[in-house]
């Protein structure tokens, strides 16, 4: 498998298959970041498209000195997520009551899956609902660290804040999420 840096060089020369490979390699990472942050599959899909469109147009500005390509990609995605968050603030205020209600189709779909899949899906769903109750700063810090697996320095690069702030947000986010899940009656153990 060719490294990202080499694929990017091919892409900048107009190599379509290289771009296709780059997209296939990183779509899941971008989609998951968007999905965990927005808690909405349709919005995550639109945002993922938007991210890759932005990357396609600005790929020439990527410098290896910035960090690994996934870190840069995450930064682009995160900036678009911030824009999306601001854009949809009013919608969220009106939708907050709907979010509090259990979704019937989700319960139904989980009932039809085998046990282990259902448990994983249930945990993922509970986590999603808990994350949605965190402030965006704490939420993104927890997602980047515990769901996307970035280290502290990568998160510092993405969020453009000092490492001490990163650590503090991750710590507070985890404690707050555990408290929210407990209030929801979820036992993570």
């Amino acid at each position: 498998m060719e490294p990202d840096a080499q694929l990017i060089q091919f892409c900048l020369r107009g190599d379509g298959p290289a771009w296709e490979e780059l997209v296939r390699r990183h779509t899941r990472r971008v989609y998951n970041l968007c999905y965990r942050f927005t808690a909405n599959a349709a919005a995550a899909e639109d945002l993922s498209q938007e991210v890759f469109l932005r990357v396609y147009k600005t790929l020439g500005s990527y410098q290896p000195t910035y960090g690994a390509f996934p870190t840069w990609l995450t930064s682009v995605a995160r900036n678009l997520l911030v824009d999306h968050y601001r854009r949809t603030r009013r919608d969220r205020l009106t939708d907050s009551l709907d979010d509090a209600m259990p979704k019937l189709e989700e319960v139904h779909s989980h009932a039809r899956t085998p046990d282990k899949l259902a448990q994983a899906a249930e945990l993922s769903e509970q986590l999603q609902r808990g994350l949605a109750k965190l402030s965006p700063e704490l939420r993104e810090a927890v997602i980047l660290r515990d769901l996307q697996g970035l280290d502290y320095s990568e998160i510092r690069t993405v969020l453009q804040v000092p490492e001490g702030t990163v650590k503090s947000r991750i710590n507070r986010g985890r404690i707050e999420l555990a408290r929210v899940l407990e209030e929801m009656g979820v036992r993570p153990a």
Partner: protein
């Protein structure tokens, strides 16, 4: 250094990441050992972090990559040859589709096995539509008959079990009857030799009692005028 509950919360992620100095780790452990609230928070957050890191990534929609490529590279040229017809094949290997397909295949295999002619000596005549229909009909009736027999057997077993459960005194009486004195040193009552505290278990081990219960249950189900004549 003074270690408080707030210090524990502030340094919790460092503790979970193993990033505390030995002195701080010792102070952390000493505090949590004596503080129930902090012990609880540490356990909860530790379990949460562990579970989050095991959550598998969500699968992106199958058409997402195609939509991204269309939006960036423009609509791609239609696929040629076999790709035009079999382009959907990779999509079905997603776990949910693959499991569904496996279930359908297993169901079809069972149906075909039930309907197909049995035996190794098959001839061309066996594939005659009339023969196939007759065989399928026969298999269907056989399957139904086996099912009906199974259900009927289950019903009898259930009747026996419920009878044993409903009338323990009926089954217990013969065991409790005084036995004639035996010269052997063995205990008179079987319950003494086998001190099983559950009377139903003791009764169920006696085959003659079981037969008696069945006969009793069946005699109850007979019409009143159908009685045994006295000798």
């Amino acid at each position: 250094m003074d270690w408080h509950c707030t210090t524990t919360e502030e340094r919790l992620s460092d503790f979970l990441d193993g990033a505390l100095s030995p002195e701080d780790a010792a102070a952390f452990s000493a505090h949590t050992a004596g503080c129930a609230a902090c012990t609880r928070v540490v356990a909860q957050v530790g379990a949460l972090v562990s579970r989050m890191q095991q959550v598998p990534p969500a699968e992106e929609p199958v058409h997402l990559v195609g939509k991204i490529l269309d939006a960036t590279l423009g609509p791609r040229t239609p696929k040629q040859g076999w790709q035009q017809w079999f382009g959907w094949v990779p999509a079905i290997w997603q776990p949910r589709f693959a499991m569904g397909l496996a279930t359908v295949a297993a169901s079809l295999a069972i149906l075909v096995h039930a309907a197909a002619p049995q035996g190794r000596n098959m001839s061309l005549a066996d594939f005659n539509p009339a023969t196939l229909a007759r065989t399928a009909n026969r298999q269907l009736h056989l399957t139904y008959a086996h099912g009906a027999k199974f259900v009927s057997d289950l019903r009898v077993v259930y009747e026996i079990q419920s009878r044993l459960g409903a009338q323990p005194e009926l089954m217990g009486e013969p065991v409790r009857e005084p036995q004639p004195k035996q010269p052997s040193p063995e205990p008179r009552d079987r319950s003494e030799a086998n001190p099983n505290p559950h009377p139903r278990h003791r009764e169920a081990t006696d085959g003659s009692m079981l037969a008696f219960a069945v006969a009793n249950r069946w005699s109850e189900s007979l019409p009143n005028n159908f009685t045994r004549s006295r000798p």
